[in-house]
Symmetry: C2
Subunit: 215 residues, 2 copies
């Protein structure tokens, strides 16, 4: 059974800006900076300073007059808001070209994401390792998810296989699905699906491009 831990829900547009603040704060930490103002962050990201102040207020952290926010404190608080301070263990299903790219992506560690196993139905792939992560047969998906208490699944399989994979993940106890397949998944109401479909991002770009012509 899935229950709400907190009552405060951060709106999605704010959530999507938080990784950008985190990038800036990590950069400042690397440079040894101790304080940062919301107007500095706003200017670095071409955002409205009022927007940035409002977003950062979800952390409950108050900046010091003339100094601003303590960089480390603000960073930790934002990482907590996204649960990126904890390790989110995930299964990846579909070890094709996109799946392999995600398996090889080092940046996920900074987002608290760890892909612990990958699954595929291609006998030529099963048993091999991609960037140290073993490819297992998709038939073992449900059993393994249950046994390893995995709550997060990443689907990088073709569209026609995605629904069946989602069902298997959910049966194994997965409650969050990061879906890269170009298909709408039918899931129970308590399951969280986040679609990371490139086509949506590309649609915005090509439409805008078609409306701009070079003379």
């Amino acid at each position: 059974m899935v229950l709400e831990k907190e009552t405060i829900t951060i709106p999605e547009p704010t959530l999507k800006r938080l990784p950008r603040y985190i990038d800036i704060l990590r950069n400042l930490t690397g440079k040894g900076e101790e304080y940062v103002s919301s107007s500095f962050i706003a200017s670095a990201l071409d955002l409205d300073p009022i927007q940035v102040r409002k977003d950062l207020s979800i952390t409950g952290i108050v900046g010091k007059p003339k100094l601003g926010f303590e960089v480390k404190e603000l960073l930790q608080s934002l990482l907590n808001a996204l649960n990126w301070n904890n390790k989110n263990e995930a299964f990846l299903v579909g070890a094709g070209s996109l799946g392999s790219a995600l398996l090889g992506y080092k940046g996920f560690k900074e987002y608290g994401l760890e892909i612990v196993a990958a699954f595929d139905n291609d006998p030529k792939k099963i048993g091999k390792r991609i960037d140290g992560i073993k490819i297992l047969p998709v038939g073992k998906l449900t059993e393994m998810a249950e046994r390893m208490h995995i709550h997060l699944g990443i689907i990088t399989a073709p569209a026609e296989a995605a629904q069946e994979i989602a069902d298997m993940l959910i049966e194994g106890g997965v409650i969050g699905i990061w879906n890269f397949a170009p298909v709408h998944l039918k899931v129970p109401a308590n399951i969280i699906v986040e679609n990371a479909q490139l086509s949506q991002s590309l649609a915005v770009l090509t439409h805008k491009l078609s409306k701009a012509s070079i003379i």
Copy 2:
């Protein structure tokens, strides 16, 4: 100089739903279906039928009573709205794991996107081909973009290189940038940047997951 071709701008949330409608319509075309109702589409995608009707109204196509929309006509009209009926030629910069995955992704053809060349600064990669696409030295980026009249650039390079690459693309005449690097690009007002950063999508998912606990 960049001028507006049309005055109607489709709002972003609508634009992001259009690829999902296109997926459904392509599927129906494959099955030989001639007509489709907006309520069928709504049900397939778990969307509000009123929302779907409103989205589809941007095409100007009117459904026939009791039959609904003509599948092929609606599909072509949606493809036109996204400019996916035309070929958008693009350069990709950064032939690492994500870049290579995008170079190998066959689905882009369906979105009217054709990556015609890739660029990298690694001498070990330059001159090789990934899925038939030649890797060229990044120093040739501006000159080649200009010569080939490329208007679309895809940045899959590391964060620290992304701004310089964007500048080179823009100098070569690129007006649309699909940015996969986790960094905010500073560009002139007439340049369109669409960020496809995985971290934003993941932020929404991990935050929601952290608020749901299994008992």
